[in-house]
Amino acid sequence: MIGKSVTSRKILLLAPLLLFLGLAYVVPFLGVVRWSFTMPEVGLGQYRALMTDPLVQSVFIRTLRICLIVTAAVLVTAYAIAYVWVRGSSVQRMLAEFCILVPFWISVLTRAFGWLAMLSNRGLINTWLQSAGIISEPLALARNELGVIIGMTHFLIPFAVFPIASAMRSIDERVLLAARGMGASRTRIFWTVFVPLTYGGLIGAALIVFVFALGFFVTPAILGGGRSVMVAELVYLRIFQSPDWGLGAAISVVLVVFIGILLALMRRFIKPAHMIG
């Protein structure tokens, strides 16, 4: 009885958020779902097109590939940063904190252009390498998949640092001491005790980064230079440049369903608290 009234009171507290989510996301999304079945005519036509259109398929495959590579790159980097942040000396901690927080103050657009200034043919890196005589032709660092991966990885690192650092913080120091006392080397303790105890944080971070990366728009549009189109950009192109609203809507629906399945699968394996930390 008491449990029930507490639950209903909690729902009441959540009501404004639920209302906002409903108005801002659910209702518009239902509209998008309707477009996908009705434009230009009623039926499953757009989904059939989606299954057969080689361009759409290549974009989906590229998106998955980029997201997987980005997730892997982010996890490795974020793990190192989180490690320094949680277990480093006070100076190292400060540096790590700086690396984590500064990106939050700079908009995604500014950062994408910043990377362009670094990576493009006449950007900082290529100019420097050429003037140093290391290369004669500029390296293709931007306006391709590599540029997109670099830009997205950089953007997503902080989001992975938090769940990983939180998992690292909750490790009992005495467990690590115990391993040392039994004669284990530092490398062995790291791989057989420390890392396994952060799996929860790693899985949570991977999920956040992967789902976030699937919907990336600005970074691929700028750093990919139209040659490395990802799903979100494809939706944009279909809706705003070729008035093919039905196909754009169908792609959106597939993306949302895919993310939904992913989240549901992950929920089975880890508690939500682990992901946020």
Partner: protein, 368 residues
């Protein structure tokens, strides 16, 4: 001793701590502490919380470096040898089991670190699991075990590689009374079976007295006294030790004369004879007598006994024993504990004699 023939016993180490000091900033956690730990002994570090027991244990294990002093093992200086190379067995406060490994994998960890063959690991783990009574729980994760079972895993993990020293930091403080007593017996048995040197930390005086071959008493980072349980209990060298190890009656003495093995002092115009286990710096001293060493009677006992007159103020019944609360003529309060079975009830407010054998009382410096 038959145990000394066992392989584990040959490995028991002897440790010598020489003038160990440890400071944290301006705070002195350990002050000039010297202690010899004998081969294969069961030494307990006893002291109130914050007295530096864990700090000393961490220095023994090699997790913390002492600020001053040296540590010797079997004659070799090991002060700068890191923990992973000392490789003592250790049971941490809160057990510190690997939460992601099963019981079996926890116990196997130190063996795998040592590169033992998988057949050897399997056999040793099996033996250890049986020895600590965890058969049937091998595949469980620590979170699925009770406190007592986790304790057993910690013990098994610390002993499976036959370390030369086992360090235990308040291993039973989280267990309830019955389980605690059972585990105490188990640790005592494991000590006898393995013959390893045990260094055991506790803040529980009865646990210390019941388990140890010797007890080292800590307070404020100082080592106050080391000795056999009986010695520290019956011949404490100062007031803190006397009071920390159990209830004690303190009678202020007027004049004290030292003559050889004994001392004589005056309490309320009666002469009291005491053991002289300490050297007195000043002239002021108290007579210290444990409540269970005193007895109440209607007339003074004279043969080798001290006796004083008291008035009975009340009694507390403890089942096996009854504790009487008394007051001397000059107003000093006393407690006398007597076996319930062998005494007839004593009426409150009656005037009685309290006596004790001269060898049971001892002299302590006043205020020290």
């Amino acid at each position: 001793m038959p145990q000394s023939m066992q392989p584990g016993d040959a490995k028991a180490a002897e440790i010598k701590a020489v003038s160990i000091g440890k400071t944290f900033g301006a705070f002195h956690a350990l002050k000039n502490l010297s202690l010899d730990i004998g081969r294969g002994e069961f030494l307990t570090l006893l002291g109130p919380s914050g007295s530096g027991k864990t700090t000393f244990l961490m220095i023994l294990a090699g997790f913390t470096a002492p600020t001053t002093g040296r540590l010797m093992m079997d004659g070799k200086d090991i002060t700068d040898v890191p923990a992973e190379d000392r490789s003592y067995g250790m049971v941490f406060q809160g057990y510190a089991l690997f939460p992601h490994l099963t019981v079996e994998q926890n116990i196997a960890f130190p063996l795998k670190v040592r590169g033992r063959s998988s057949a050897d690991v399997k056999q040793k783990v099996g033996e250890m699991v049986a020895r600590v009574g965890l058969v049937g729980h091998e595949k469980k994760l620590p979170a699925k075990l009770s406190g007592g079972q986790q304790q057993r895993v910690a013990l098994a993990r610390a002993l499976v590689f036959e370390p030369s020293v086992l360090l235990l930091d308040e291993p039973f403080s989280a267990l309830d009374k019955n389980l605690r007593e059972m585990m105490q017996q188990e640790v005592k048995r494991l000590h006898q079976e393995t013959g390893t040197t045990f260094v055991f930390v506790t803040h529980d005086q009865s646990e210390a007295l019941a388990l140890s071959s010797r007890v080292a008493i800590f307070n404020h980072g100082e080592l106050l006294q080391v000795g056999k349980p009986q010695d520290v209990y019956e011949r404490p060298s100062n007031r803190f030790v006397a009071e920390f190890l159990g209830e004690i009656n303190l009678l202020p003495l007027d004049t004290v004369e030292l003559n050889g093995e004994t001392a004589a002092g005056k309490f309320e115009d009666r002469t009291i004879i005491l053991n002289k286990s300490i050297t007195l710096a000043g002239k002021k001293a108290v007579a210290a007598v444990r409540p269970e060493h005193m007895f109440i009677s209607a007339s003074p006992q004279t043969s080798d006994c001290n006796a004083i007159t008291c008035r009975v103020e009340g009694a507390t019944y403890f089942g096996a024993s009854t504790k009487y609360h008394l007051r001397t003529r000059s107003g000093t309060s006393l407690a006398v504990s007597m076996p319930t079975a062998s005494t007839s009830p004593i009426a409150p407010q009656s005037d009685v004699w309290v006596s004790w054998p001269v060898h049971q009382g001892f002299l302590l410096p006043d205020g020290g």
